[in-house]
């Protein structure tokens, strides 16, 4: 765990990662801050390490020294969580069902860093000090901080404090959310937000439930209410495009019908699905559920992008690799 806050009243949050020099999540060059915890379970999730709220173990077998070390077979590691198979060399094996007792302290005993915890508790100032390092880049490019996840709206007080603090420091703010949270959470965060990127994953409620775990009725209601309650926020709708799930005209047209009446929804972006997160599943001992899914073809992306461009009255030729 990181040092406790110097101002004990300031909220702390569980931060997964801070990534500098990002260019796809809001205007300009930005620093993405990923918070831990999500309220959906999209089968194609590229950030499995962000799903659980609590910090959790990650294991990189490539770094393990194997039998000659064997430290994690002893106290204070949970009994049976790490083991070697008889007559076999190579990295230690993990029984993921027995690892819940691992924590930062025990992981720090692993000499090679093969064992680590995903997620650490940080204060608002700790995060903002890191973000502020690129203040000059934000000024020249129009960038700033983007809060992402998981679902950052699950830590609304921390998110609101981060954005409030960022604005005080003159840093532009963007949030990336699926809005599957109570409206009260959104209401706390949005007053401090310049741009809200939000996911329209599937249109039909039962399909949304099939692929993400819940229906989308509340999500859509939240979007609409956000558009109407916060006219000065720039909203950018997005769809992670997955063949066989949502990469079809029907979905795109339905999203356009939903967003176009609202003038503060300034764009609709397609995010062609790529198998990015799979290595992380390995580190977490989870099996990727969407094993067979493919990246959408350029033609499909171009076709769907053209529909969006037309709806937004643009004539530019879509570049499917731009996102």
């Amino acid at each position: 765990m990181s040092n406790p806050s110097t101002t004990p009243s300031a909220p702390t949050g569980i931060v997964l990662n801070i990534q500098r020099y990002c260019s796809h999540d809001g205007p300009g060059i930005r620093t993405n801050v990923f918070l831990k915890g999500c309220s959906l379970r999209c089968k194609w999730c590229g950030n499995p390490e962000s799903i659980r709220v609590k910090p959790e173990l990650s294991y990189d077998p490539k770094k393990c020294k194997g039998r000659e070390c064997s430290l994690c077979l002893k106290d204070p590691f949970p009994k049976g969580a790490f083991y070697f198979t008889e007559g076999e060399e190579g990295p230690v094996k993990v029984n993921w069902d027995l690892t819940s007792g691992c924590d930062e302290a025990s992981c720090s005993l692993c000499p090679t860093g093969a064992l680590e915890m995903y997620g650490k508790t940080m204060t608002v100032d700790e995060v903002l000090n890191e973000v502020e390092k690129d203040a000059s880049i934000y000024r020249t490019t129009g960038g700033g901080i983007t809060l992402s996840g998981g679902e950052c709206m699950l830590q609304p007080d921390f998110s609101a404090a981060l954005f409030g603090g960022a604005h005080q420091r003159g840093i532009n703010t963007a949030v990336e959310t699926a809005c599957n949270v109570p409206w009260t959470n959104i209401e706390k965060v949005l007053p401090h937000v310049d741009t809200m990127l939000h996911d329209h994953k599937l249109t039909i409620p039962e399909r949304h439930k099939k692929w993400t775990g819940v229906g989308n009725e509340r999500i859509l209601a939240n979007f609409k209410r956000a558009y109407e309650t916060f006219p000065n926020v720039d909203f950018i709708a997005r769809t992670p495009l997955i063949p066989g799930v949502n990469a079809d005209e029907e979905h795109i047209r339905a999203v356009l019908a939903f967003i176009r009446p609202h003038k503060n929804v300034i764009d609709y972006e397609l995010l062609p699905y790529h198998r990015f997160g799979l290595g992380k599943y390995e580190y977490l001992g989870k099996v990727y559920e969407l094993d067979d899914y493919k990246t959408p073809s350029d033609e499909v992306v171009k076709h769907l992008q053209a529909i969006i461009d037309e709806a937004f009255g643009r004539t530019r030729q879509a570049d499917p690799t731009a996102k």
Partner: protein
């Protein structure tokens, strides 16, 4: 309770438990769909628990699937649910499960489970549950027993399919490359391959050099016998698969499996069907013979149990009751011919029964001229 993953003839085990327990005057309650029947009883119009009364058991068809169903997940420590705020989360409901078992006046739990299920029951036992496990594993990968329930039926079915594949290959004058179950261990591939007279068997335990395999097949394919049969376990260990341009994403399962060697190694477990496809494509390039991939894999999980599994199921069921009757809990029933034994769960978990180098089946395969790709 019946754990996740389908194997043929689960009713035989249920019947074994119910008959043996009934003999002792015990009452037997079945839990539907893993722990679902207890944790989400509202899903069942007729209740999540099923009283396994003598008249029900008397007429239970041991050749049928599971009277109790099974669930995709049996882990009460991570139950995925939607909270009052419509948010998805995983919660630990193990305490609630134990309380519910108590409230239903269930004194002990007999579970038919595979590898992961054993760990879950080990954890529940550590929390005070009187647990006895019966090993169920199509791949026969549970280490503490010689034969897990379900393996023999899968083996018989796979042999039958291989026979058909060989006939198809013969008729077409091509090489059939048939993928069978076995992501971590090669028992099914090896034993079925021997029985069906395969030309080659590729298993996870033996790294296979496709060049050598190709040379061997070429030698075997003559004008008199212009066809071939190659059996590939799902988790076959192809040493040149990097060259085969294997999608890196498909190495994922390998790293989760106990045999996995990590990213820079060559042990790749692919999704169902990919192993057959990769091997068929590579061979076709290497020896200029036509190949065709077939996937038996998942088909072997269903169907009618063999006589061996029916007997084994009844014996395992009765054995579990015997364990409880002699005051043993926290154990797995193991079949180590000619005995039924009770192995502590702590010793049964974290072990995978793989095919060792000096195994009799491996020697048999070699004597029969079956290429293992090494």
């Amino acid at each position: 309770m019946v754990g996740a993953g389908f194997v043929p003839g689960m009713n035989a085990v249920i019947k074994g438990v119910a008959l043996a327990a009934g003999h002792l005057g015990w009452e037997v309650i079945g839990i539907r769909d893993g722990f679902e029947g207890l944790l989400r009883p509202e899903r069942y119009a007729e209740g999540g628990l099923l009283h396994l009364a003598p008249h029900l058991i008397e007429n239970l068809d041991p050749s049928a699937g599971s009277l109790l169903g099974q669930s995709g997940r049996v882990d009460p420590f991570h139950v995925r649910q939607i909270d009052a705020d419509e948010m998805v989360e995983e919660v630990d409901r193990s305490d609630e499960l134990l309380a519910k078992l108590k409230a239903e006046r269930i004194d002990a739990l007999i579970s038919v489970v595979g590898g992961q299920g054993l760990t879950i029951l080990y954890k529940l036992h550590a929390k005070g549950l009187n647990a006895v496990c019966i090993p169920r594993a199509i791949e026969n990968d549970v280490a503490a027993t010689l034969v897990s329930f379900g393996f023999n039926s899968a083996l018989s079915f796979t042999i039958e399919m291989l026979d058909k594949a060989r006939q198809a290959a013969q008729a077409a004058g091509k090489i059939a490359v048939v993928e069978v179950l076995g992501s971590q261990t090669g028992w099914l591939a090896l034993q079925s391959g021997i029985a069906a007279g395969a030309d080659a068997v590729l298993i996870p335990e033996v790294p296979c050099d496709l060049q050598k395999l190709a040379a061997k097949l070429k030698e075997k394919m003559t004008t008199r016998r212009p066809y071939g049969l190659v059996v590939v376990a799902e988790g076959a260990n192809l040493v040149d698969n990097a060259k085969a341009g294997t999608d890196k994403a498909s190495t994922l399962k390998a790293s989760l499996a106990p045999l996995a060697l990590g990213d820079n190694s060559s042990h790749v477990i692919q999704r169902s069907g990919q192993a057959a496809e990769t091997v068929a494509n590579r061979l076709q390039l290497l020896i200029a013979e036509e190949t065709f991939p077939l996937v038996v894999g998942p088909w072997a999980r269903a169907g009618t149990p063999t006589a061996v599994d029916r007997q084994l199921g009844l014996a395992y069921g009765a054995g579990a009751v015997q364990a409880l009757n002699t005051g043993q809990t926290g154990v797995m029933v193991a079949f180590v011919p000619p005995d039924i034994r009770f192995v502590p769960l702590a010793e049964a978990i974290n072990k995978v029964r793989t095919v060792p180098p000096d195994n009799e089946f491996r020697r048999t395969a070699q004597s029969l001229g079956i290429c293992l790709g090494n």
